[in-house]
Amino acid sequence: MRCSLGILCLLWCARSLLFAAPAQEQKLMVTGSSTVAPILLELAKMYEKQHAGVRIDVQSGGSSRGVADAKQGLADFGMISRDLKPEDSPLEGFPIARDGIAIIVHKSNPLKAIQGATVKQIFQGKIRSWKELQGADKPIVVINKAEGRSTLELFLAYFGLKNSEIKASAVIGDNEQGIKMVMGNPQAIAYVSIGTAESQAAIGAPIKLLSLDGVPASIAEVTGGRYPLSRTLNLVAPKPVTKSLARNFLDFVRSQEAEPVIKELHFVPIVVPR
């Protein structure tokens, strides 16, 4: 009883805080893919600094959540780390960056390049040892992503696989976990976001990005549009975007000002002139 009173008081305080603030503040809500979220977080901070009284909340929770929230109007923008699908239909997509998926192995692995078909066979469990790929006589440790991740979706779609066909020896959640796993396991093979992998490799993580079908896995190749296993990171919103703050922010995100930030996070910026 005492405590519920306490909760009430708290709620009341919270309310007063909440409703006192927005009078001079404009607010945007952005939710969705955890791949895109870091970009938006940084950009939001920059934007807030430039425009006093604006507050932009970024919540990550997966591409599907971004779509759902944008459809329901819970969020002004949804973030998705894939191309738009027909079922997203009432929403309009705004590409902000590109990213690829790199197949990575441990640095000590002699393999340098890999063919798409081989990747498919490895993940299907048809190739089980590195020996078959001129490597050591050790079993291949296949690292897959957890159900629902857009990286998984893209990977499956590209290779025409079903998740149930993949014979994985470990399932991971986030990109970083995959990289750490490969770092610790010379027999592992995994697929992660190129941006993340490249930046980790740059700081000295013992991983190697395999070139896929002859195209090196690198940001440069994604920029050039040559790397096959790539995707567009989009913001989605119900069209037309009417809120002026939302329009302005969108323009900012796709401006040249935002370019260095996106590059720094190891993505390929897409600049749309105003």
Binding site: M1, R2, C3, S4, S34, S60, G61, G62, S63, S64, R65, A68, K138, P139, V141, A146, E147, G148, R149, K162, N163, S164, A168, S169, A170, V171, I172, G173, Q177, K180, M181, M183, G184, N185, Q187, A188
Partner: protein
């Protein structure tokens, strides 16, 4: 004054009772909400499909919980088996062998270990433990890794609980044993152990609950493959890891399926608790 203070007493009684009911209602609310949120799974997929499923591919409509329940149970039991002897040894040392200064330091360290976020444990498991196991048997992420890591994580809790239960023993009983000329092992066997048997049961059931419920660390080391492990080197997925892995991306019936996983966890945990009560009751029976 008199009347008013008895009125105060009555109001006090109601407040306190209210607090009690609120505490009870939390469990009710949890069960209710978790069950409620998992209902769509059965409305859309159907009971038979859920319990007859042969695999876990939520996006393809296959929801099999068995291997995950097994994974949770195996890793938790294994962890307890590892932790019990070590905790036992440590609590022995704390009470019989080590100097006060050392005991103080160890208690402080154990206290800190209890408070360390599981992420830190998990991170260590991922970068140290898993590669180490991988040297013998790939892929390293395995039931064994989960067991070892969980064992290490519940060790401090278990040690501290045993330690407390030893401290609670009536000093005079120990003194009486010494007065009878019993040496340390006999004092231990005749006085300390019988007194602390119920506490041991409590420590085990609580640690088991902790191990069952651990999430963040297990995700990093267990491998998260939904399968029935044939050896300890096979990767497994626990119910908790399943929720944390997929929750952020789950929609509709997938989400409901995860909530049902949570419901299963609550049920599993209640079973552990009931087991704890039964052993404790049996222990008290022996005691009497």
């Amino acid at each position: 004054m008199f009347l008013s203070s008895s009125l105060v007493d009555r109001i006090f009684g109601w407040i306190v009772r209210g607090a009690g009911w609120l505490s009870v209602s939390i469990l009710g609310l949890i069960t209710w909400f978790v069950a409620w949120e998992s209902l769509p799974l059965f409305q859309k997929v159907g009971w038979r499909e859920v319990f007859g499923a042969k695999a876990w591919y939520p996006l393809e409509g296959a929801f099999q919980y068995g291997p995950m329940v097994l994974g949770s149970v195996l890793s938790a039991f294994g962890a307890v088996m590892i932790a019990v002897p070590i905790a036992f040894g440590l609590s022995l040392g704390l009470h019989f062998f080590w100097s006060r200064a050392l005991v103080g330091v160890i208690r402080q360290i154990l206290g800190l270990l209890v408070g360390l976020p599981s992420v830190v444990y998990g991170f260590w498991g991922l970068v140290t433990l898993v590669p180490w196991i991988n040297q013998w048997q790939s892929p390293g992420t395995s039931l064994l890794a989960a067991i070892l890591l969980l064992g290490g994580m519940i060790l401090p809790t278990m040690t501290l609980m045993l330690d407390q239960s030893y401290a609670r023993i009536d000093r005079s009983a120990v003194l009486a044993a010494h007065a009878l000329g019993l040496d340390m092992p006999r004092t231990f066997a005749c006085v300390v152990l019988p007194h602390t048997r119920p506490a041991l049961g409590a420590a085990i059931s609580i640690s088991l609950g902790r191990a069952l419920g651990e999430t963040m660390a297990v995700i990093m080391v267990a491998g998260n493959i939904v399968q029935v492990p044939s050896t300890v080197f096979d990767p497994v997925r626990t119910l908790t890891a399943n929720i944390a892995l997929e929750m952020a991306y789950a929609m509709d019936q997938h989400k409901a399926a995860l909530f049902f996983g949570a419901f299963l966890l609550v049920v599993l945990n209640s079973l552990v608790m009931v087991g704890g009560w039964l052993t404790r009751r049996a222990g008290e029976g022996v005691h009497a």
